[in-house]
Symmetry: C2
Subunit: 370 residues, 2 copies
């Protein structure tokens, strides 16, 4: 397991107990108005006080750039008052570097991920309430931990919350190569569900298909193939009970048309910015239900409840068993947020999951003041 | 209340108890293959035996021509084997003219509507099992009774089964002038719900608006007005929790866009034969649910259960209290089924509810054989 303690600049920590100074410098990506992410986001330095009684000081290691974060910056779907500046980001993995003065089960070196979202993950240091984070087993890979709170949990809930799926049942998903898609394929394999993944046609799609099949896909079809496939005629048991869509438009509409009677079509994103269309027949006679899912909404209702903690426990066990690996990602050094061509543009344009990597951020501020 | 006993040809019934002959002639509209209704439907004569122990012989009075019946004839949505010939029709009101030999709570002159559907309503006489019909209070109007089993029940379930509506909540419906629409408007008024009805623009739409408002609509907008109305900005409490759509296409899509967060869009028909489209945002952020309703499906699951009987009881009470009147209808003499321009074409083309009227059908076959 990665640990700050392995970094040269932190080795000072191994020399007995020391005191911290009362404030610590932190760098954050913030925005003072809504707008195009790479225009409005800027890096600012700030100071954090020592953690209070029930607080933890976290050094963030990795923080993904999720579509949700980019929508937030655009102000899309924003409701309520504008309490600028906002710190970007939501999902992260970090290490406890200091605890409050009161007794706490946390110790320095513990790895945590957020239970609550929205307080900003794109920051080098972060003060959190003890009850707002989840302790990750030390053996869990950092990339896996970084993409559990939103990405893996989204895949988990999409498969669990809408239809009762038994072994051998089938799921169809668009954006099979997205981060949530990759986790969904793995969970399907784990739970013995057939997963039919849809990807946009591209160069070397054969390689992508093989990669996604190795993750757990039963079959991968391109948007050009789905319309003329006879997969569901040849193998009726592959007709999906659940369609998971993050694309919308023609692709979303086509996967919904593959559903069995009583099937559910769940929209959890809108990469294409195009509407889904549905024949009334799909509702009236096929008894399909179209609805949506947002992890943020789910957390609004279930945060810290048993089902939330249980899900995280279960995901951690499967990560430890190597049944779940992180989605393919590209690390972006935190300082390079504007230099690289598209970390702050929409993920679907980049076709890769960008993740801010703050592991090597200078930690000199942590030198004790004793 | 209308009764066969008032018809001259039936007055013979008032002369003491007589025996029937063992068979009775009946005329039915049947089809031997799926196809365009006015091409494949023909009238045939047949014979019915005396009712068995638990059977009733019914003389049909009125039988509406519902879109569902026309879809059946087209073979649209048909599944399973083809047991031709089929008798057309599903909804009816009829009078008991003979009972079986065993004890029965039914007596001659009782008015009944079907509990089960699909055995064909477009027929002059019909043998039914006692348990397959519902006795209508004698004071209930014949037109109201004729449109309860499917039309009024559909309106009732649409308002009851999807969202919990409290007094003052709002519903939006397309096809407000359809038969189900007219019943929906009346139930909304009865249950103190606001009803925003949408109709297609037409000549004299002002008159139609007034008529529908008199039935219970809070507001009637045309398809041209809905896009530019500021009704929901001016009166936010009118934003609907429930959208009921029998049209699809642009109208269906537009009424769905009026929904509050967490709202339900229910498709129960497809008059336009065009798909409904939905922005992913409606699912992901607005948490709307799109699904469908079909009375036939509902009956598959709930036929004769308490909730079925209770609904019919409640509707009958409201009809007796004059809170519900039948949708505007045009009577079609049974023999004229092919002569009139469009009884067997789709109802939406005609913009009227056609109802077969068999009250004056010759009843000479009923003369006893004693």
């Amino acid at each position: 397991m990665w640990s700050l303690l392995n970094l040269k600049s932190l080795q000072i920590f191994s020399i007995g107990q020391r005191l911290w100074r009362r404030t610590i410098k932190t760098k954050s990506l913030v925005y003072h108005r809504f707008g195009v992410p790479d225009e409005v986001v800027e890096m600012v330095e700030g100071e954090l006080p020592d953690p209070g009684d029930k607080q933890l000081l976290i050094k963030i290691a990795l923080a993904p750039i999720n579509p949700y974060d980019l929508y937030n910056i655009l102000g899309k779907f924003h409701t309520g008052s504008n309490k600028f500046p906002y710190t970007g980001g939501s999902e992260f993995v970090g290490e406890v570097v200091k605890t409050g003065t009161q007794y706490t089960p946390y110790v320095r070196g513990d790895i945590v991920i957020p239970l609550t979202l929205g307080s900003g993950a794109w920051t080098t240091y972060k003060l959190v309430n003890e009850s707002d984070v989840f302790k990750v087993p030390n053996e869990v890979g950092l990339q896996e931990a970084a993409t559990t709170a939103i990405t893996a949990c989204t895949a988990y809930r999409l498969l669990r919350d809408f239809v009762s799926l038994s072994e051998g049942d089938s799921v169809i998903l668009s954006g099979a190569n997205s981060a949530v898609g990759q986790l969904t394929l793995q969970l399907c394999k784990l739970w013995n569900l057939n997963a039919i993944g849809i990807v946009r046609d591209r160069d070397n799609v054969v390689n992508l298909k093989e990669d996604l099949k190795s993750l757990g896909a039963t079959e991968i079809l391109t948007d050009k193939e789905i319309d003329r496939t006879n997969l569901f005629e040849n193998y009726p048991f592959l007709k999906p009970k659940l369609a998971l869509d993050c694309i919308g438009g023609t692709i979303g509409s086509m996967i919904a048309q593959c559903l069995v009677k009583d099937g559910f079509m769940i929209s959890y994103g809108e990469m294409s910015n195009e509407p889904v269309y549905a024949e009334s027949n799909q509702f009236v006679m096929q008894e399909n239900v179209f609805t949506g899912f947002s992890m943020i909404r789910w957390l609004d209702e279930n945060m810290k409840l048993d089902k939330h903690i249980h899900m995280l426990d279960e995901l951690m066990i499967q990560i430890l068993r190597k049944n779940l690996i992180a989605p393919r990602m590209e690390m972006v050094p935190f300082e390079f947020y504007k230099v690289l061509p598209d970390p702050l543009k929409f993920v679907n344009m980049a076709n890769r999951k960008f993740v801010f990597d703050m592991r090597e951020e200078a930690l000199d501020e942590l030198v004790d003041s004793e």
